[in-house]
Point group: C2
């Protein structure tokens, strides 16, 4: 199975409003609720494609209960191994403006995790690694979790020879990358914040020097750039896609995981096709299965 | 006891952000959760001032459970007589911009109430009226509740000689007022929408002609205007108040209810002082008890 870790899971709300105007009152014309946090998004894509997937991390309070109930309804072989905590799972609110098609995001911070809960989680994580063919560590850290959390989890996975992918930002990424994960998947902004360089190739090479065995950077409409020990590649769709990019990065992570035993050009093809099929989907964060099949033969991979 | 009806109760979230910028991502620096909906706000003020208060209306789903748990913690003699429903209690999100002190409001629509649930509610309402010294009907209607709901509830109260105050807007106000409530408390915008007149005195007189025995209009920093069979008065604080007006109208309703047996000038004084003490409170929707005592002798009432 593939294990995904979401330390700061969220109940994601999407509010559609006719037009978002600050300092006014809005009637929400459509409200959607779904399990969120990068690792849960990755897991839902993997499970929907039939891959045995286990999610772990924390869930607590009424929002945590709602999240777990929604997760139980997700299609495919997805197992919930979230650890109950006394704090309350955060909400995120994505306000979509129907007039402009743009999104404004509001993210709660997350629950205070106690030292005992963090210790219980690391025990659970080590147990789950036994059956894991790969593990993805995804997203932000809730208050109370040590800033070096991902570095610790990367080392635990590597000690057990489980390939580990890290997808986070800021200081947790900086520290996590130093523990030598097999792969990091930053976006352009995260890569620039890490390295100080806004030139993706230069920044990805710098990220490798910081400890990542490989770097697969998601560059939005410009596809993905991979810098690895086997070579450097750029993968793109034939033309820029129209749609909602929410969740495209998480789908790219799912693609990198499910094609983990394939050569890099094919791995990138899967990742870019899944990301593009997510942009194409009418529902934010879901991927369009037919578009995914259509797009697979269209992705161009260029060695650099 | 005083009965307040909140057909579209809400779990009110207040999100503080450093600055609200559409089309960007925000970290919520403070997230507060409280029971909401006008009738619940009115009830919390009454109970905090020691008045026996019963709340009814609908609550359902995980948000409904959270709302009821929070309500149980409210100070004072407040009894929860909300009716459980299969739908889910709505959320509202007030996004406060710390840089400008302004608020942007996002309101979910509310649960679909079935005809059976509405019938069960009207039975419950009639039972509760037996012990009620006054009843307030407050706020918007959730989907499924007939648009003439307030007209029906006004008639039931009047048939049992329970004084009834109506605080709503739009079509439910238009229909409710025709059933001859003892008092309506529109704000300036609601009054203008009802009557087509933006001149408050003219509009309030028109509202009386439409069926309300008395009209007490809340005019924000301009205080209140009452048009009654005993006379017409204007009540104001000595100077405009700085602060957050959220909930001030609901506190005014609480003041009108608790002083229901006093002459109109004293009744307006209570309403304006409570509203002003709510504007003064650092927490949106709460009133500052010390400010309330301070403000009571300062309110000026002028016969017109």
């Amino acid at each position: 199975m593939i294990l995904t870790v979401t330390l700061n899971a969220a109940l994601d709300l999407t509010y559609r409003v006719p037009r978002l105007l600050p300092q006014t009152e809005h009637r929400v014309t459509q409200a959607l609720e779904r399990p969120g946090g990068k690792g849960l998004n990755v897991a839902r894509v993997l499970a929907a494609l039939g891959h045995e997937t286990v999610v772990t991390g924390f869930a607590g309070g009424p929002t945590g209960e709602t999240l777990r109930r929604l997760l139980a309804d997700a299609p495919g072989p997805l197992t919930d191994a979230l650890l109950p905590v006394t704090g309350t799972t955060r909400r995120t609110v994505a306000v979509t403006d129907a007039a402009t098609g743009t999104t404004t995001q509001l993210n709660e911070t997350g629950p205070d995790i106690t030292p005992g809960e963090w210790a219980a989680f690391t025990d659970r994580y080590v147990q789950l690694l036994r059956d894991a063919q790969a593990v993805a560590l995804c997203g932000s850290l809730p208050p109370g979790v040590p800033v070096g959390a991902y570095a610790h989890l990367v080392r635990q996975a590597r000690a057990r020879h489980v390939p580990v992918l890290l997808d986070t930002s800021g200081e947790p990424l900086r520290r996590g990358i130093a523990a030598r994960p097999d792969l990091v998947k930053p976006n352009a902004a995260e890569l620039a914040a890490l390295t100080g360089s806004t030139e993706p190739l230069r920044a990805a090479m710098d990220a490798r020097r910081r400890g990542a065995h490989a770097v697969a950077a998601s560059l939005g409409p410009d596809g993905m750039l991979a810098v690895t020990s086997d070579g450097t590649w750029r993968a793109t769709t034939p033309r820029p896609l129209q749609g909602n990019p929410t969740g495209a990065g998480d789908s790219a992570v799912a693609g990198l995981l499910l094609a983990r035993d394939l050569p890099w050009p094919e791995r990138l093809t899967q990742a870019v096709a899944l990301a593009a099929a997510t942009v194409r989907s009418p529902t934010a964060g879901d991927f369009d299965a037919a578009a995914y099949e259509d797009l697979l033969p269209q992705v161009r991979v260029t060695a650099m």
